[in-house]
């Protein structure tokens, strides 16, 4: 893997708001597997505490099926999907509550 991860996230402040893209650059400190969820958690903890994604009742092991997110256009579970060097993360449905969190 590269030394940096470049992640573009489609953000939206609320259901009726316009969406926009924000880019985050993360240093990669180890060569072990990294999930999309790990990346989102890293951004929340170290770079941007306003980024919203499903995290309040997450099983972290692909059992609850609630952390869905579009990764480069494909709907995936954030906890199960491996992060790529460069990726685009978007809400998985049109019913956006905030950023990557959707209704349902």
């Amino acid at each position: 893997m590269a030394q940096e991860l470049h992640v573009k996230v489609r953000r939206q402040r609320g259901p009726e708001e316009e969406s926009y893209l924000q880019e985050y650059v993360l240093p990669l400190v180890s060569d072990e597997p990294v999930s999309v969820m790990n990346v989102l958690e890293y951004i929340y903890e170290h770079q941007d505490p306003t980024l919203a994604f499903f995290s309040h009742a997450a099983c972290r092991q692909a059992a609850c099926g609630k952390c869905m997110v579009k990764v480069d256009g494909q709907v995936r579970l954030a906890c199960k999907e491996h992060a790529k060097d460069t990726m685009l993360l978007e809400p998985y449905s049109k019913t956006v509550v905030r950023d990557l969190l959707c209704e349902g």
Partner: protein
């Protein structure tokens, strides 16, 4: 101003034991609401029972034969099971509750099967193998059919108390960012454990002790808070799989080895041959292996990047076929990735992680707490398993939930409605929103990180007076810091910083209660191990420690006052484990 929502007879918080409680309450005609942190049938501890591969529901052998599930243990009786459970709990169990457990487990299993849950097979003599999500689906469907209402993605914050009893509760609806108050004649807490206060835990992210903390604030009591079961071999690295208990499931079935920094096995260093065999071959492995693994790590012989190594020999290759046959779900998804890594010679780093909380809200055998109108069930209630849970937590939540729902409905029937006191709601609102008005204070994440340092240092498997006193001091400091918290995120809608503030408001008091109880128990018993008092002392500590008030006032209840009691005296910790096991045989 906090919005006041509809009125209910019974409001249940949580959706494991909570769902079962709601079913009982609705069957009695109570207008019932379930408030749930996540999605009702896909959240909480039940979902992850047995890593959603092999959860178990326990039941006496006679009932299993009656239900046509297994004839393998036909001669078993609820009474015999009861005897075993008291010993497994090192005599601290609430024996009246335990009677309810052994006598009604069969009914609870039977009804779940009627409601659509599939039995996968048998796991042990008294354990039926099921899938966690299947249990939730069956309960949810039944509750819905009975007209139970649901409020999902909502965090419970506080109980409202007036005229000496519970009259409602407040919560935050995450999806719209609004604080809500709900009027209820009776409330059932079923919020699960307080896993979130440990960095290393095996639960989902919704288990933060909100029920226990709110109960304490409202005037109810906590019991046995020092008793926490650690799962000995939970993944800590790679981070992607952190919190997963697959190595525990495999190791319990005999696959793989635990190795230290230089690739040597180590359990015999800490356990006598007899106890080591128990640790490796029986259901007692959680308690005993946690002690051995934690000891090796504390001795500085752990893996270089955390925990110890879990590895499986590559040869003979047939081992792998054996394993796939036993656990077909290893062939796909995340499990496949982990197994592929193991089969290529990579180890998984594993360590003890908070797994199950034996202690919790003090309840009587009818699941009533010491606060009128408040009931508790499942992991957030304490007392059923005493100092060590060996049997099934799923059975516990079903049995306690069914009873709590009945008791809450009966209480609601005889209770007048109290209108929610506006002044109390206003001052609560002020407290819950305070960080939005602060500036320059610590971020919630900063305090959470500190909390995790404190709990890792003092409240894990092996404890001591010095570390517990340090923890209490540090937690008091943290409580003070909590008032200064400020947010970078000013929106209320799905604001994670706000959520973490509310979680800290629950987790810090829970951590204080655990530290205080652990300090008061100057002995080692079951899952509570004190390096400075490494013996089990029946002469002085055959009692449950009960705490109340934010200052954590202590009272002791003699355990086993009426029922089976052990010999008086004092034994070395492992010596006493051997003695208990001899009694079991």
């Amino acid at each position: 101003m906090i919005q006041i929502e509809k009125k209910y007879d019974v409001v249940v918080i949580g959706s494991g034991g909570g769902l079962r409680a709601a079913i009982s309450a609705a069957q009695q005609g109570a207008r019932t609401l379930v408030v749930c942190r996540g999605k009702v049938n896909r959240s909480g501890a039940t979902l992850l029972a047995g890593a959603n591969i092999s959860a178990d529901i326990a039941c006496d052998g006679a009932s299993l034969a009656r239900l046509g599930i297994s004839k393998g243990n036909e001669g078993d009786t609820p009474e015999r099971w009861f005897q075993d459970l008291v010993r497994e709990g090192f005599y601290l169990n609430n024996q009246e509750m335990l009677t309810l457990f052994t006598e009604t487990a069969g009914q609870r299993l039977e009804e779940l099967m009627c409601w659509g849950m599939k039995v996968q097979g048998m796991e042990g003599e008294r354990e039926v193998s099921v899938v966690g999500s299947d249990i939730l689906d069956a309960l949810y469907k039944k509750a819905k059919a009975l007209g139970v209402e649901f409020l999902s993605d909502t965090i419970f914050t506080d109980l409202i108390v007036d005229e000496g009893r519970v009259c409602g509760l407040t919560c935050l609806n995450l999806a719209n960012g609004q604080l809500q108050a709900i009027s209820a004649k009776a409330v059932v807490l079923a919020t699960g454990g307080a896993h979130g206060l440990f960095s290393e835990n095996s639960g989902s992210t919704d288990l933060c002790g909100e029920g226990q903390a709110a109960a304490l604030r409202a005037g109810a009591e906590l019991v046995d808070m020092e008793m926490i079961s650690f799962c000995p071999t939970v993944i800590c690295r790679p981070y992607m799989y952190k919190g997963n208990i697959l190595p525990y499931i495999l190791f319990s079935s005999g696959y793989g080895q635990l190795l230290n920094r230089i690739g040597k096995t180590f359990t015999s260093r800490y356990l006598s041959p007899k106890v080591e065999r128990l640790a490796l071959e029986s259901e007692w492995n959680k308690m005993l292996l946690s002690y051995a693994v934690q000891s090796e790590i504390n001795q500085g012989r752990g893996a270089r990047d955390g925990g110890v190594y879990y590895a499986i020999d590559r040869y003979p290759l047939q081992i792998w076929d054996e394993m796939y046959e036993e656990f077909p779900s290893l062939k796909q998804g995340l499990y496949k990735e982990m197994i592929d890594a193991l089969s290529q010679g990579s180890a998984l780093n594993v360590q003890p992680a908070a797994h199950y909380f034996e202690g919790g809200v003090w309840v009587a055998a009818d699941m009533s707490t010491s606060l009128p109108g408040l009931f508790a069930a499942g992991e957030c209630a304490g007392g059923m398993f005493g100092a060590n849970r060996v049997s099934s937590a799923i059975t516990e939540m079903l049995v306690e939930g069914a009873q709590a729902g009945l008791s809450a409905a009966a209480f609601a029937q005889g209770a007048e409605e109290i209108s929610l006191p506006r002044q109390q709601l206003d001052s609560l609102e002020e407290e819950l929103l305070a960080p939005f008005g602060n500036s320059g204070g610590p971020a919630p994440r900063q305090l959470r990180r500190r909390l995790h340092e404190i709990t890792a240092d003092s409240l894990m498997v092996i404890r001591s007076e010095a570390s517990l006193e340090r923890a209490l001091r540090d937690l008091d400091g943290l409580q003070g810091q909590l008032e200064k918290v400020s947010f970078a995120d000013s929106q209320r809608l799905y604001n994670r910083q706000w959520r973490e503030y509310l979680e800290l408001r629950a987790m810090i008091p829970c951590a204080r209660a655990i530290a205080r109880s652990a300090l008061l128990r100057r002995e080692s018993r079951g899952v509570h191990i004190r390096s400075d008092h490494f013996y089990t002392d029946n002469s002085q500590f055959l009692h449950n420690i009960v705490l109340s008030g934010t200052e954590l006032r202590e009272r002791c209840i003699p355990a086993a006052a009426a029922g089976i009691s052990p010999a008086s005296g004092r034994w070395g910790y492992t010596q006493y484990v051997e003695k208990i096991v001899e009694e079991l045989e």
